[in-house]
């Protein structure tokens, strides 16, 4: 027996108490959807987990109306500290039910249990704790004294971090005093519905958070709904562009977190063993289903061969398989559709002349799987160096000087994140200063913290989530009455006053954001 063939260590599913059917969560209750229900499957086995209700536009109307009522009559009337109490309660319930949420997330999404257990769910709790603390301190959010909430937020989230993206959206929205209608991704609705149970446990007033499940048209009905004041979307650049188009000309505030093609830059003086870990974590974390994944490795030519040797050796120790096994490093690809896209792009990579390498590993018979893959001899014009693969695929490029590294890193329509590996602090800062990316990690990668803002440049979107900036997105400057009370109301204050009324159409200031 080989010790490294660790004996199976599956996480128990006994804690899970799933229903066979889930309704929509509207006005504090689970209700049937009017669309055709659809199944959610385990991508590691292709077996059905549960049936999920499908919200049509009438359901979306009901949900938005519930959110509007809750906003007008309950949530906007509560003090910040009372809103904070609800958020703290939700955070604690997430912690209490952490194991259950992690198992459900892994079943529905395909990500390894060690990631849902050690990363996703703890961050979900952290996000609620963090914004709970902000709820009664909105004066310090950076939009001036006594800011007001925006109203009803329409939120659409992706399938790569289902529960975490939900937390990124809901926590700041509620802290700022908004109510929410949120649509989880079609393939990963399960944990959002468990989260709805947590909201019931927490006695959150009815209608403050509504969850509508369904496909693309459900999302379109939601973001296009005339009575929502804010649209927050995380997903592909194509879908984000469509949303931006559909809300153009309305007074809806829009926050978009879109795709990325991050450069992970490794200089020849990098702490090499940690850089290898960072490269692996940058692109193979969550099967590469990460918008800020370090999918382009830019390595200094002088250490290219050494880095590739070490990287290959390290990849050979990654364990691919049952996502519920506690020792699994690489789980399943979330859907057949995504697997197809990864295959297409990697085939194009080979056709374009890049050299493909994957470690020996056995793929399970059922489910959607893709071996961790690296491409060497990649040039900047290759599609695998330009398009977002959103899978466990790394493209390796080289550079000779810091200037070339910066130019290559910025040579992309995206600008979400980047990584720098060097032992020289001054170089780290100088390079970071010139990279056009919203998040730059130095000597680490894919680290998230609720206190740190996150968001992109260029086609990676606009608006920030996390930290004070993420809170400010859900606020607007002081309400008109407060501004009028100021003795010498300056012109700027009058502009702010017009913007603050939810019924007032188009504000010019938004374009400037």
């Amino acid at each position: 027996m080989s010790f490294l063939d660790y004996a199976p260590a599956p996480e128990s599913q006994a804690l899970l108490n799933l229903r066979s059917d889930y309704g929509l969560f509207i006005d504090g209750e689970f209700v049937a959807g009017r669309g055709e229900p659809f199944q959610t499957i385990n991508p590691a086995t292709e077996k059905q987990i549960a049936m999920i209700a499908h919200a049509n536009s009438a359901d979306v109307d009901t949900a938005v109306a519930a959110a509007r009522r809750a906003y007008a009559h309950t949530w906007s009337k509560l003090s910040g500290s009372d809103r904070g109490k609800y958020l703290f309660r939700i955070a604690r319930l997430v912690q209490e039910r952490a194991r259950e949420l992690a198992v459900a997330e892994t079943l529905d999404n395909g990500k390894p249990i060690k990631e849902s257990r050690d990363v996703d769910v703890p961050l979900v709790a952290a996000w609620f704790f963090y914004y709970a603390g902000w709820a009664d301190k909105l004066d310090h959010a950076g939009v001036g004294p006594t800011p007001s909430s925006r109203g009803v937020a329409a939120q659409v989230i992706p399938w790569n971090f289902p529960l975490l993206m939900l937390a990124w959206k809901i926590a700041p929205a509620l802290a700022a005093g908004n109510t929410v209608v949120i649509k989880p991704a079609e393939t990963t609705s399960l944990t959002a519905l468990l989260f709805a149970e947590i909201l019931q446990q927490a006695d959150l007033p009815a209608g403050v958070v509504n969850i509508v499940t369904g496909g693309r048209e459900t999302g379109q009905a939601l973001v296009g709904h005339p009575d929502v004041n804010l649209v927050a979307f995380t997903g592909s650049t194509g879908a984000g562009r469509a949303i931006a188009r559909s809300v153009a000309g309305t007074d809806k505030k829009v926050i978009l977190e879109l795709g990325g093609k991050a450069a992970n830059i490794v200089f020849d003086d990098a702490p090499i063993d940690q850089a290898i870990e960072g490269i692996v974590n940058g692109i193979f974390f969550n099967q590469g289903h990460v918008c800020c994944a370090g999918s382009r490795l830019l390595v200094q030519e002088s250490i290219h061969d050494d880095v590739i040797d070490r990287l290959k050796a390290r990849l050979s120790t990654l364990r691919l398989g049952d996502p519920l096994d506690k020792n699994t490093d690489i789980g399943a690809i979330n859907s057949a559709e995504q697997l197809k896209r990864i295959r297409e792009l990697t085939d194009i990579g080979e056709q374009e002349g890049a050299e493909r390498w994957s470690p020996d590993c056995v793929l399970p018979d059922n489910g959607f799987w893709f071996k961790p893959t690296i491409f060497t001899n990649v040039s900047t014009s290759h599609r695998i160096a330009r398009d977002e693969v959103f899978g466990p695929v790394l493209s390796v490029l080289t550079f000779r000087t810091p200037a070339e590294a910066i130019a290559k890193a910025n040579n992309t329509p995206f600008g979400l994140s980047a990584g720098i590996w060097t032992e020289k602090g001054s170089r780290m800062l100088a390079v970071a200063d010139k990279l056009r990316a919203g998040v730059i990690w130095a000597n680490t990668f894919n680290r998230f913290d609720p206190a740190s803002p996150f968001g992109g440049y260029k086609e990676s979107g606009y608006g920030r989530e996390g930290g004070r900036h993420g809170l400010a997105s859900y606020l607007k400057p002081a309400a008109s009455r407060a501004a009028a009370r100021t003795v010498n109301a300056a012109p700027a204050a009058r502009i702010a006053a017009t913007e603050s009324d939810p019924k007032t159409p188009v504000s010019r200031k938004k374009a400037a954001k």
Partner: protein, 339 residues
């Protein structure tokens, strides 16, 4: 500079070191070489160690790991109050770790002060390995352990004494003062001299473990440089600690040393051993080390020739786990013997 593994393999230790550092082992040459080694990012190293520590080792893997851990232990007593009686008791425990279960493997070695070597050898009798693969080794700490603050002549006499008395392994300490003040040449020369003193009359050598005392070196970069220095000078093993300063073996420190050993193997084809010592008290901790070894340098390092635990209280915790795995229930400290 020679760097291809095949060319490296042709050279003896001394020639190889000279080829790598590009000249005599002077402070300046060694500094240039050691400071040219890639640095360590502490946060990243600790994160990696924590990840390795989160592996879930269950059922058959755990059973295998538990027996493996026992066979890798240097059962240690290093007290001013040590007596021949105490050493005999320790040897008894080394030979029969679990009095109630004859299938329990023996430990790799007993580790004692130099003057206790004759008593350990006598107590082992025919179970003493004495250069063979069977049996239990006797390891002696030497070179003015634990501080190393004595003249080279005294240190070498200490080593000579232990080797003559039948020690199979010498655990020396490096001169941390010299290392920290940049006198790398002195540290190197001392290791070379001690290694030469490990030579027996028949031309064979006692195994040399070089203790870096990582708790005093303070930074991971220092640990990495000291590891390279010890290996360049011909150490068979690099060992973390004496167990006599507040910070002893930690998983990140051991991981960083294993990475050096892995890189040395890539460079030369030679295998150097690693011994974390001090502070490893539970099976749970020891399993984290086993995992770290297997996933960093490979499973073939999990042999007494290449990996050891320096420990005393670890053995009984492992034995209790072993009894639990055999019988299905926990026994308790009254069901394992104290040495």
């Amino acid at each position: 500079m020679t760097s291809s593994p095949s060319a490296m393999a042709q050279l003896n230790t001394g020639q190889r070191a000279l080829a790598l550092i590009g000249g005599e082992a002077t402070d300046a040459n060694l500094r240039r070489y050691l400071h040219g080694i890639p640095g360590i990012d502490a946060v990243g190293l600790e994160q990696r160690a924590a990840d390795l520590g989160s592996r879930s080792i269950k059922t058959s893997s755990k059973k295998w790991a538990i027996d493996k851990i026992i066979s890798l232990i240097d059962l240690t007593t290093l007290e001013g109050a040590d007596t021949p009686g105490k050493v005999r008791s320790l040897v008894g425990k080394a030979l029969t770790p679990d009095a109630g279960d004859p299938t329990c493997p023996r430990v790799a070695a007993v580790c004692v002060y130099g003057d206790m070597v004759p008593h350990a050898v006598a107590a082992l009798g025919s179970a003493h390995s004495a250069g063979t693969d069977a049996g239990v080794n006797v390891a002696a700490v030497a070179t003015a352990f634990p501080s190393g603050r004595a003249s080279l002549a005294i240190k070498l006499a200490d080593v000579r004494d232990a080797v003559l008395a039948g020690a199979d392994e010498i655990d020396m300490v490096i001169d941390r003062g010299a290392f920290l003040s940049g006198r790398f040449g002195q540290v190197y020369d001392e290791i070379v001299a001690v290694k030469e003193t490990c030579r027996r009359a028949d031309g064979s050598y006692a195994h040399l473990k070089v203790i870096l005392e990582t708790g005093e070196l303070n930074t991971y970069d220092n640990v990495r440089r000291a590891s390279w220095l010890a290996i360049l000078a011909g150490g068979d093993f690099i060992k973390t600690s004496t167990g006599k300063v507040p910070v002893a073996a930690t998983l990140p420190v051991t991981l960083s040393m294993l990475e050096v050993v892995r890189d040395w193997h890539r460079l030369t084809g030679d295998k150097v051993g690693v011994k974390p010592a001090g502070g490893i008290r539970t099976s749970k901790d020891a399993i984290k080390y086993i995992v770290t070894v297997a996933e960093t340098v490979g499973e073939e390092w999990l042999t007494p020739h290449l990996f050891r635990f320096g420990a005393s209280s670890l053995l009984n915790d492992v034995l209790m786990q072993r009894q639990k795995m055999t019988t299905g229930h926990y026994s308790g400290p009254d069901y394992v013997t104290i040495d």
